[in-house]
């Protein structure tokens, strides 16, 4: 992760508390999870749970490349997911093997992300977010109306000859592993440092020679590609597509929520976030279908108020607290979080009513 980047000076990114033995944890976890279909090949519930969780993990990690590393929060990823899904569906109906269509779907999504990204990534902060809501919703409505291609409001039925649940489980796990590898590599590379730099200060990064427009668009394309492939996998699994499911705003915000609640800009955040997100959704879906979004809305607000680094930040803080000889817990919020305020207080923003000098509110046990 960070430590593996030889030329990475500590200036750019403050040292964050990390989970124990993080570099080894992920491969070990991956191998253990890969053994599940071997151990319990007939347990459809577990295999389905795994499939959806891994699909969310992969997408959350992919979203985080642009949204977390570069700080461009997009509400429009359903467009990439849907494009990937429909590319796979149409090629599959045209006689292709589904597996071969996945990269094509990813490419279609990546090309679309470039077309959208070149103009919209020039916008900063909230303006980019709003523009992506517009793009995502416009795509959904367009797809609903292109009924000759997408089947429109009646949807598209796909062939029913599909691999086993165990195959899907493994494919989704593989996808999550690829996304993990991509995110980890990007984070430690010069490219990732460039993204971090432009997130912190766009103009300063540009002055220092970071090709910000190129970096943003490449990050956008990589994450769109991964999400597009996930869309293809989803289409193969479901064997039925409807523009309102794959292009839905809910799909877009799921990715935002997964990354934010897990921990924006971290590797483990989207993984934790996706696991919790799908578990909660699955648990509440049957009895209270809307409760998981309600719960997530509340969680999002609480996290923004108290722990902007999400569940990963919380985990790191708890780990730091219980590690022998660790500094007391109150030290954590002083580190600039994902939304940390600028180092220099902005004049004109009266701080008199803000309880603590920096974003996160009072922490239980803080003595400051």
């Amino acid at each position: 992760m960070i430590g593996s980047a030889p030329g990475a000076p500590a200036v750019v990114r403050p040292a964050r508390p990390r989970l124990p033995a993080a570099p080894l944890l992920a491969p070990a976890l991956g191998v253990a999870l890969a053994l599940v279909p071997v151990a319990a090949p007939g347990n459809i519930t577990v295999l389905n749970l795994g499939f959806f969780t891994f699909l969310y993990v992969a997408q959350g990690l992919a979203w985080n490349i642009l949204g977390g590393f570069a700080g461009y929060v997009s509400f429009g990823y359903a467009a990439f997911f849907g494009l990937g899904a429909y590319t796979t569906a149409l090629l599959w109906l045209g006689g292709w093997t589904p597996v071969l269509t996945f990269p094509v779907g990813g490419l279609v999504a990546a090309v679309f992300s470039l077309i959208v990204g070149v103009p919209t990534l020039r916008l900063v902060g909230p303006y980019f977010s709003i523009a992506t809501i517009g793009v995502g919703e416009a795509m959904r409505i367009l797809m609903l109306n292109l009924d000759r291609i997408t089947g429109g409001a009646s949807g598209l039925n796909l062939p029913t000859a599909v691999p086993s649940k165990a195959w899907f489980y493994t494919a989704a796990l593989l996808m999550a592993a690829v996304a993990y590898a991509a995110a980890t590599w990007i984070r430690g590379s010069r490219f990732g440092l460039g993204l971090a730099a432009l997130r912190m200060d766009l103009e300063a990064a540009e002055t220092l020679g970071v090709r910000t427009a190129l970096f943003k668009n490449v990050a956008h394309m990589i994450s769109a590609f991964l999400v597009g492939v996930c869309g293809g996998l989803f289409a193969t699994y479901f064997q039925y597509l409807h523009p309102d499911t794959v292009f839905s705003f809910t799909e877009s915000i799921s990715l935002v929520l997964i990354a934010l609640i897990g921990g924006l800009g971290t590797i483990w955040g989207p993984i934790l976030g996706a696991a919790v997100f799908y578990a909660v959704q699955d648990y509440l879906q049957t009895s209270y279908p809307t409760f998981h979004l309600l719960a997530y809305g509340i969680l999002l607000i609480v996290i923004l108020l108290f722990e902007p680094r999400g569940l990963a930040g919380l985990a790191a803080r708890i780990w730091g607290h219980y590690r022998p000889g660790a500094p007391p817990i109150a030290a954590a919020p002083a580190a600039p979080g994902a939304f940390g305020p600028p180092a220099v207080p902005v004049p004109g923003e009266t701080g008199s009513h803000v309880p603590a000098p920096d974003g996160p509110g009072p922490v239980p046990g803080s003595t400051a």
Partner: protein, 293 residues
């Protein structure tokens, strides 16, 4: 298709729609203008305004227009509370933090409404819902006319308040330059609270008026939210008078697009305009002519 009668009738529709669009976007513009916060929860409050109006009409047998007015003080209080408890605490962080927080609030409001009222379409039928007013050769739906008249009247009153009261002037000063306003002794923090309350009050009011025209579900606010963004971006974001211009542009564009494309693609116009306007003219339409000193 392009008969004079059709065109005139489309113009009338556009003007009536523009009134509604303006009142629904005003709150967003005030909040953005004063504190540069993009209020994604506006959609939630629009929706809540509609449902509250339904509750008044069921329980108190209150007319939707009266319900919309009743929403104003309640939503003002709610908005002020949201500012004090949530928004104020993340204003120092990056702008995206407040956007995400208000997005979380929207999710909460929307899904609370889903658990309380379910996902069925709701509507309020009044005695005058299906009435139309004949005007020369045209017939105008009475509800649309009422919504337009009330919206314009309320915005006119607001304009007077903004121009002639201390708080109104302080609010406009904060929109123009928060630092200078602070230097002039304006408590911009307090003004921000009022602005958030006022913006939310407008959302509740517009939501109430909309029950006269549309059926609604807890998902109701989303498309209108995006249209509101289009309008304030077209209007120039910090320019309160620009809201009217933006609303008129969007209403005309939507109405006339129906002549050329499927009606179901109407919303795409708004979203495309939003993206184009954000990229091409961040200063809004009004910045294109004049003021180039």
């Amino acid at each position: 298709m392009f008969t004079a009668q059709n065109l005139i009738s489309l113009c009338i529709t556009s003007i009536l729609t523009a009134g509604l669009y303006a009142v629904m976007s005003y709150g967003l513009a005030i909040i953005y203008g004063v504190m540069k916060v993009v209020n994604l929860s506006n959609a939630g409050f629009l929706m809540l305004g509609a449902f509250m109006t339904m509750v008044y009409s069921q329980v108190l047998h209150l007319d939707p227009v009266a319900g919309a007015f009743l929403n104003m003080p309640l939503f003002f209080a709610a908005g002020w509370l949201v500012y004090v408890t949530l928004v104020r605490r993340v204003r120092q962080a990056l702008p995206i933090a407040s956007l995400l927080m208000l997005f979380g609030l929207w999710l909460v409001l929307q899904n609370l409404a889903l658990t309380v009222w379910g996902s069925d379409d709701q509507s309020i039928i009044t005695r005058y819902t299906y009435k139309a007013l004949p005007l020369f050769d045209y017939r105008i739906a009475l509800t649309r006319l009422i919504v337009f008249a009330v919206a314009v009247a309320v915005m006119a009153v607001l304009q007077i308040l903004l121009n002639h009261t201390y708080i109104g002037k302080a609010l406009r000063a904060t929109v123009q330059d928060p630092q200078a306003a602070l230097l002039a002794g304006i408590d911009t923090e307090r003004i921000s609270g009022y602005a958030f309350g006022l913006g939310t009050a407008f959302a509740g009011f517009a939501g109430g008026l909309m029950t006269l025209l549309f059926s609604f579900t807890p998902d109701f606010g989303g498309p209108f939210q995006l249209k509101s963004f289009t309008i304030i971006v077209l209007g120039g974001l910090e320019n309160l008078a620009g809201v009217t211009v933006g609303a008129a542009i969007l209403a005309f564009a939507e109405s006339f697009a129906v002549l050329f494309m499927r009606a179901s693609l109407q919303n795409v116009i708004a979203y495309a305009l939003l993206v184009v306007a954000l990229i091409v003219m961040p200063g809004g339409v009004t910045s294109l002519f004049g003021r180039r000193s």
